[in-house]
Symmetry: D2
Subunit: 154 residues, 4 copies
């Protein structure tokens, strides 16, 4: 029933995830309609994405003062399947799909404390050179890390 | 060159906008990479969307304490075409497309002080009943307001 | 050396804390100066305060749909003693001081992964009636909970 | 009736303001209690403070890539005098008091569309050297700009 343009077969898509990061809804992230404000899942995506990149060892490079490359977000999307409320918590899953020359498509899936999928999403990240703003190709080592299935972490 | 899955012909797509709302980047919206954090355009989308709905007279109904319906976001997406920096300001354009029984697809386009399109986006809003969480059909009056081209405001 | 108007003797003040909540800095909470944006510790204060109130059993009452009282913040302050960066994490301590008829003064202390006090703060919370907006006196049970030293949690 | 530790005579304190910046409450800044979340006035303070510093010509220097000094917040406080709701707008006033060697105490006052003072605040800013993190004394020109009464802007 629930759909998203980037999911063909949900069961199979779900199967592809293993890395996940725990998130808990903050009171300040709700709005006057009593639920999680729609802008917040993108904050969660960033948090989980960074934990994923840390897990792969990429983040340490990008935030190093002498690093000449940084990751930028090319696009982002989120499908809100269930209202989320204060007190809810999630396992936010992240996986890499469609690895390009200097980009990678990341997919997201948030499963709450009751095992329900509350929101899903995806977005392309590009590694760029700070100076030029142009795409900076993944090294072979980076590609391998993105390609290999990562094990469930914590 | 720049693309987004929901834009066939950019010139024609751009032509369809008239309502817009001015936004200025806050310092607290930047991140340590020195540019606008990727989660913020969704905050801007909400602000502009609400101004658009106010312009149509919808928002006043939804935020009234006795209202039995509220708008919820079904999905959202943003394509980041140009890095945005502190001090930048935008005209954020909003238009309604594909009006459904109780939903509407809104499109967004942010043009900065130099006339450059920095980011674009879209997302479906659904009018739901607070009690049931189910879609609540637009009234004829609402449909007409969404369908009619709105004039440039401010 | 470090001072705050609400701390007479730092060692003694620090001694009074036991409840604490773990916080980790998000990338989106940094700003273009490369450090934690100054507005974020107040977000952390709220998160830790709510965990503290949950620990005491107050939050469950306040967020119940039929509750006629809510807590509001009368004032808040933060003293920033050390710059905080992406990747830092804290134990954020909370304690109740100066319990009034319907108010309580909460104090905060954030200690990072290296045992350094990064920021401290305080603020008065008031329990008000939703309808009138007037202070709603603590019950005897609530007063006792606020007065008793709480044990370290997690 | 309304008090704050840093205000002796309210009428006289209010008289000292002239620079102000317009702010409008965003929907995403409300919380499930239906009002403005308590963390947001500090976001507004930063926005108004930066506009104030821009007005004085300081901000342009600090955000320049080659600048060796940046302003940091030493402490911040806010007194919440009236609940604030979605749709409210303010004139947020800023003034400089107690100019030190490399620091300045800024005071804030938010007056809503009905002329009511909703919240007030203050906080010390310090100009530091990026490299050392130590206070960097104001130049004579900076001191003069901070001391002179600024005219109402916009």
């Amino acid at each position: 029933m629930k759909q998203a343009s980037y999911i063909q077969d949900f069961a199979q898509w779900k199967e592809g995830f293993s890395f996940n990061h725990k998130i808990k809804v903050r009171f300040s992230e709700t709005d006057m309609f009593g639920h999680l404000n729609n802008t917040i899942p993108f904050v969660y995506f960033e948090e989980a994405r960074i934990e994923y990149f840390k897990h792969l060892g990429f983040m340490q490079t990008w935030t190093h003062p002498t690093s000449d490359s940084i990751p930028v977000v090319a696009d982002l999307q989120c499908d809100f399947w269930k209202q989320v409320f204060f007190g809810d918590s999630f396992q936010l899953y992240v996986k890499a799909e469609n690895i390009g020359t200097s980009s990678v498509d990341l997919h997201y899936m948030a499963i709450n404390q009751d095992g329900e999928v509350c929101f899903v999403g995806r977005g392309t990240m590009v590694q760029i050179l700070k100076k030029t703003g142009k795409g900076h190709p993944w090294s072979d080592a980076q590609k391998e890390l993105l390609t290999n299935k990562t094990e469930v972490c914590k």
